[in-house]
Symmetry: C2
Subunit: 211 residues, 2 copies
Amino acid sequence: MQNKITTPAQRRQALKDRLIDLAGAMIDAHGIEGLRARELAKSANCALGAIYNVVADLDALILEVNWRTLASFEEYLVDANIGREPRDATEELAHIALLYLEFAARNPHRWRALFEHRMANGTGRPDWYIAAQSHLFAHLEPPLRSLRPGLRMESYVVLARSVFSAIHGMVALGLDEKFILMPLPLLREQIRVVTLAMAQGLDARMTSHVK
Amino acid sequence: MQNKITTPAQRRQALKDRLIDLAGAMIDAHGIEGLRARELAKSANCALGAIYNVVADLDALILEVNWRTLASFEEYLVDANIGREPRDATEELAHIALLYLEFAARNPHRWRALFEHRMANGTGRPDWYIAAQSHLFAHLEPPLRSLRPGLRMESYVVLARSVFSAIHGMVALGLDEKFILMPLPLLREQIRVVTLAMAQGLDARMTSHVK
């Protein structure tokens, strides 16, 4: 054991990491509702008060879990592109949409936590979290630039969010047994059809009245 | 008072209607989380047990409120079309999308309750509720029929749900201060641009590779 933990700061960080791991596992198993401080302390084998020694509250812990979820989706996107032939922008948008669906379908609770979590104390999300979200939307910007060249930079940022939101809606309602449940193969086909249509309609070479 | 309530069945119905009204008002004020049986009984000036005499549980009451929300959105859609010139299918889709945004923006809690409510006891939603949802999606079918004629009937049902989901995603995330908050005029513009693009891309006259 060469890297034996020694300083109090290192011990705090180690506990924090362990708590994020365990909170992530609890969310994976039962969703955000399943996260309870008492059970968490028990799993981490620490006192209840020790949790609040390393994170401000459960909200802060959920944000850390969500940050990791965003990071693992990023990784998933990047891995899926390694060694791939470049696609045209229309296909690229559909490809990202389908990767988003797969990620959500494989990690349903973790993924829902990104959207269901509301800060209980009314504070906003920290900048590092907002930056991670923005980074995610940015993956949609290159294909949008190809489809609609010549817009101002901010327009791509906004359009990427809108296109992401539309894809998210199809994924969220399509996977929701309460609202519009579609079998996964049908949902894949629908997301592909609608995302391709969206991309084609945005294509400046094909359209006139979309400004 | 010619319609004086006399029979026990009428009294039960009157209490049920009053509870649905009050539950709706509580949801309007504080969202689904704000609905509490004890407060409801107090507002309705009835015993706590009397609630469970007319509805199975709070879930059943929320479903009734949600059913009314679906019905009032239907009414809103129909009213907005009275005396209007017929639009082409592309404009019609964008028009419905923008009405959906306005309705959600004006009734934020009531509208969120449609999506946030999960049956606590694991039972499914009753048929009458599912029918009301389906009726709503059906408004998207006529423009989709014009855009892509010749599909099988079920295909329009599925496509209407997918297009609705995409529009819903833009509305839900665009109005969500936690995720992607857009000022309402920008959100309107984005929903119009993306919905028109989606419609144009679906237009069989314009596209080839979308099957």
